[in-house]
Symmetry: C2
Subunit: 261 residues, 2 copies
């Protein structure tokens, strides 16, 4: 913690947050030692911080195993987030309508650095658990929503993003070649929407249209996931796209400002 030598920086708070962030899909509950190992904090610090988080109701502790895990308070944070993001309230009723009309899974995604994050999900078909969970972050370049949003940015910006933003393989068919991704974004610039196949789940197809902010830059995207076994690009463009675009346009409100740090 020698790097953050700033009197406006409270190290203990930052360390506490590190404990919270240590939990993810592959670290669902942890013992004191595991927490210490994973955060890089020493045993004593971990003990004090975890204890504080427990007393304050942020971590549940199994009395038997003494292992810690996220408490209900973590869901309450999502609750507060939803009220703070003006886009969600605007979008929710329209997304519900859309999912009912299509009978297919509909998602709302926002740009979060070089990733997209799923803000709202309305699953209609049985699917992988990971595809139903809000708060999931994925590399923007590997998603239809990310490409659709990028396509609304000035050309130099999106080209820089295609060149530098992270990519990683999720399925054998995840596109790792940046030229292919560039072509996909180019198409999205031209068409106003993006379609992808098998990027996150084998044989899953996704189509996304941007929700434009007042400056013409996308602040979010409406996305629809369907099975590649029963759908192809043409049918998606014919049957899903029109309603998807109507929904995205209906959400785009001129008074909304993009989120920023």
């Amino acid at each position: 913690m020698k790097t953050k030598q700033n009197t406006l920086y409270v190290g203990s708070l930052a360390k506490g947050l590190r404990l919270l962030r240590a939990f993810d899909e592959s670290h669902r509950e942890m013992s004191l030692s595991e927490l210490a190992a994973r955060t890089g904090l020493d045993k004593s610090a971990t003990q004090r911080l975890a204890n504080t988080l427990h007393i304050e109701g942020m971590l549940d502790k199994d009395p038997g195993t003494r292992r810690f895990r996220p408490s209900h308070a973590w869901l309450e944070m999502a609750y507060a987030y939803y009220w703070s993001d003006p886009l969600v309230g605007q979008a929710m009723p329209k997304l519900i309508n859309l999912s009912q009309e299509l009978g297919e899974t509909v998602n709302l995604a926002e740009l979060s650095g070089d990733h997209i994050i799923y803000v709202s999900r309305l699953p209609c078909k049985r699917t992988y658990f990971a595809a139903t969970v809000i708060g999931r972050r994925l590399p923007a370049l590997s998603t239809s929503a990310g490409r659709a949003m990028l396509a609304t940015l000035p050309e130099d910006e999106w080209r820089a993003a295609v060149d530098h933003w992270p990519i990683k393989p999720f399925t054998p068919s995840t596109t790792l070649d940046r030229d292919t991704i560039r072509a996909s974004v180019e198409a999205a610039v031209h068409d106003g929407y993006a379609i992808s196949k098998g990027q996150m789940i084998l044989n899953e197809m996704a189509v996304a249209t941007p929700i434009l902010g007042p400056d013409g830059r996308a602040c979010a995207a409406v996305q629809c996931s369907v099975s590649g076994h029963t759908w192809d690009r043409d049918r998606i463009a014919a049957e899903i796209l029109p309603k998807l675009q109507d929904t995205a346009n209906a959400i785009s409100p001129s008074f909304l400002s993009p989120r920023g740090g």
Copy 2:
């Protein structure tokens, strides 16, 4: 902070959490002074803590207005929670099926102290925003899910709860009389499910069945919300209840342990 004189308690971390918890449905973004006023912390402390939270990515700061609001990290916390709660993964596919079969809004609720908390929500009909947001906490006694869960506890426990747990009015028809609530829980003990009307939203009806843990105590409930204009108790019992109970039973896994502090 003189009360928590415990060497295993890190005051700065606890104060930071107070800032986070200051945000809710009626405090969606706050200035430094508002945060200080609302948390009771002095200006300097608020400044340092808010700054730390901002640097660590937990609070977004509008460059123009200098106001703070929850960041995407708050959604990532929900993401981690979902993976940590074994019930959710178990329930999700079954809840999706149920909502598709019924064509009505389906929720998964857990007991959280004397409140219930909505863990998963699958809205099918346009409704109030508050009725679509996960992480919402409501007094257990005022909800069908809470009553259905209470009814699975030993008699002395649920009677004590009916006598002492908090109630507050949400609509003109919210039940404030504990005798009426007691009768409702008694019915749920007998029937194995609970139906309520107009507790949270005028003319909204809800039906809930408990998900039983290995000890016979409910750890959660599956709940369905419908409009009181088109549904009545008999039709709910005839058309919704059977599928609701099947779903709840299919979720109840003997190996799951209830969450606890």
